[in-house]
Symmetry: C2
Subunit: 195 residues, 2 copies
DNA sequence: GCGAGATTTCAACATTTACTGAAATCTCAG
DNA sequence: CTGAGATTTCAGTAAATGTTGAAATCTCGC
């Protein structure tokens, strides 16, 4: 499609970075992270070196306020850290460079922020109708509906408990996530699966 | 906190459904699915029976157009199906009731829509700077930067290849997802882990 | 093949979410 | 301490996203 000659040297690197930033920003917004925040992260990750607020603003063409808020949020997520450079008043920021550690941090935060509260709500919701099923008494239609409802909720709860549990493993100390994934793949591969 | 007496009978069921719908809608929007679409799904899932467009509109207080579009999207995701009732001109809709099947479908679609294109882009981006690293020649700073850049990209690619691969297993025929998760938990549990 | 009843589409609108820029606040070298 | 330089905050505004409702389209029993 694009028939322009391939850029070489610095241009190629710059273009690769820009495309990575764009793609990462897109990915972010598909998964509920604001585009800019994802782009800031992408920039720090792909450039691999500490950048200051002004460099981020300049490169991504965003306002100072936006840059500040995005950087703050990324730090809250635990995937970007501040770094002082001595003899320099500015703050510099670096992204976690280990890809697996990066995703462990992301999973940790999303579980904490979204799955755990969801689980808590599901338990509460389950309690609203908990008293209905067990005892016998006349088998009304109402009871049948409630019982089916409870079953659905229980299965959902079960699912998210499993997710929560699996994530704990994935997230926990060094390398676990990688190991889990790798062993899983290996085990499956030895069964001579489809393409 | 809430000290009102607990609702019983039909009221309790209705309230439980409403809260489930709210919570599910919230979850959806945190993960990049529009609130309404998630709510429509929640309603179909939790009520467990075929509902027609008007029932959905009525219960969620949304317009006909919105209901139609949400239902269509849910069908595209493969988690809601149409059902004719004979002697009735209306279409009825049901949500996948098996929780694991539901999430397999969701994972399948998200991988297809988001991860696969991302992988393709990452390969393209990697190609932009692929020629730089290998050969020797004078070791410029440029080369060092590019080489580090390539390493980061390669690790990212590796990660998403693994994700893609794992998802294939999870998504593939009946029960695999459950088995994988369960076996993983069992294996880990037998190590006498923390809480 | 007609048409009543149902669904889909889409331009206009509403709501939500994200961004800006300047003022307030913070900080550290001198 | 002081204040120049840096960061954070936030009210106002811009952009993106989601929703409506009515017209266009589809569909199926007759």
């Amino acid at each position: 499609m694009d028939t322009r000659p391939k850029a070489v040297g610095p241009e190629a690197l710059r273009e690769a970075q820009d495309r990575f930033i764009a793609v990462w920003g897109q990915m972010g917004s598909a998964w509920g992270i604001s585009r800019t925040m994802a782009e800031v992260h992408a920039l720090l990750f792909i450039s691999g070196q500490p950048l200051c607020t002004d460099e981020v603003m300049e490169r991504l063409q965003i306002s100072r306020g936006n840059a500040s808020m995005s950087l703050r949020a990324l730090q809250d997520w635990g995937i970007v850290v501040r770094a002082h450079k001595r003899g320099d008043r500015k703050e510099y920021y670096t992204a976690e460079q280990e890809v697996w550690a990066l995703f462990r941090a992301i999973v940790r935060e999303r579980i904490k922020r979204e799955v755990d509260p969801l689980l808590a709500s599901l338990y509460e919701i389950r309690d609203l109708t908990a008293g209905i099923t067990p005892d016998a008494g006349p088998a009304t239609e109402m009871k049948a509906l409630t019982s089916a409802h409870n079953k659905r909720l229980d299965e959902m709860l079960d699912f998210f408990r499993t997710v929560e549990s699996l994530s704990q493993r994935f997230v926990s100390p060094a390398g676990r996530g990688l190991q889990i994934a790798a062993s899983l793949l290996r085990r499956e591969d030895s069964r001579g699966g489809v393409s």
